[in-house]
Symmetry: C2
Amino acid sequence: MSEARISLPSIRRFPSYLRILMQVREQGEKSISATQLASELGLTSIQVRKDLASTGIEGKPKIGFSVEELIVAITHSLGWDNATEALIVGAGNLGSAIAAYNGFSAYGLKIVAIFDKDPKKIGTKVGHLTVLPVDTINQYIKSNRVTIAVVAVPANQAQATVDMLVKCGIRGIWNFASKNLKVPEDVVMQRTDLAASFAVLSVMLRRKYREETESDDDNDSY
Amino acid sequence: MSEARISLPSIRRFPSYLRILMQVREQGEKSISATQLASELGLTSIQVRKDLASTGIEGKPKIGFSVEELIVAITHSLGWDNATEALIVGAGNLGSAIAAYNGFSAYGLKIVAIFDKDPKKIGTKVGHLTVLPVDTINQYIKSNRVTIAVVAVPANQAQATVDMLVKCGIRGIWNFASKNLKVPEDVVMQRTDLAASFAVLSVMLRRKYREETESDDDNDSY
């Protein structure tokens, strides 16, 4: 299977290609050029040609790429042709927001259950899901053959949660907790740290502001 | 001001330090060692010492670092000692989830308003906010001196939205749209692309799975 060699930076761009391609297909277009994709996505057309080449789909001179062929190839490369079921651990603010967010379905991710250990949360509704007790998670994972878990627990519980999930058979973890976690080699973990992203934004903004005002006698109370 | 030289990787770790320090303070601890922080965060103690040195706070032999001093210094380095107000553009699934998420307040970010152009959304409640019409955003930004915007509009509207926000005086943009956007040099942009993160997780998981089963005659219907 050739997709095993597609680079991760290309993979990161694939969802954006897919989105443009689906829009274009809806508008009835059958083909698209690398230049057009590049301009839509703010990429260079060299980059786009390289990314598309990795799907195995070839463009035709003056016509471009088949929209349908690209959609099929990219969806398959991402594994999004089979809907993936995932569960969430942690029904706090972040877990609830993720559960209520419908946008994941666009990329083949279906949130099927949410778990918490807080008796006050168990049984309450989050989006269309009911919060389940975390001590039933092993049974749930085994019965429903779920392989992906979104971890949205407080940072100090994150490693214990991940250890428990791995023991239950979870193979892919999307970690939203602000903590470096350890997983065995056969488990894949992806981390999204919103606090870290916002920290960078805050600091960069302060630095810009300071650069601009440092010649002024302005006070520092930004 | 020394913090202008703190590296971005250190800045990205600061929120995690802050979280541990606040936990420790709540437990009544006055000091903490680099080793303790390192173990809590899954970092090396060399890394922790380097990060903490950049705050200007010095540890004492056998005692460690003052928890209070570190909290003050890190909070100040991040600019989180002054609450920052931000608005959201886009009251779709993602914008609504972000607006409803209370966790940002922990790092000095207060979402004060949410805007959309869809008449069906305007006037509806999202968390404790009422969706405002996007054509009032200029007035809002000027009256309330908001400098940060969270962009959660569909990708094909993202560049136009950002251009408009910059014109209204927004200086920091947290972009959740799956698109590379251009901003002038004096504007700071941070991107969080959930689809791209999930793409990497999906593909890595498929690759692991394939490695393990490629010697089997298993079918490919994962």
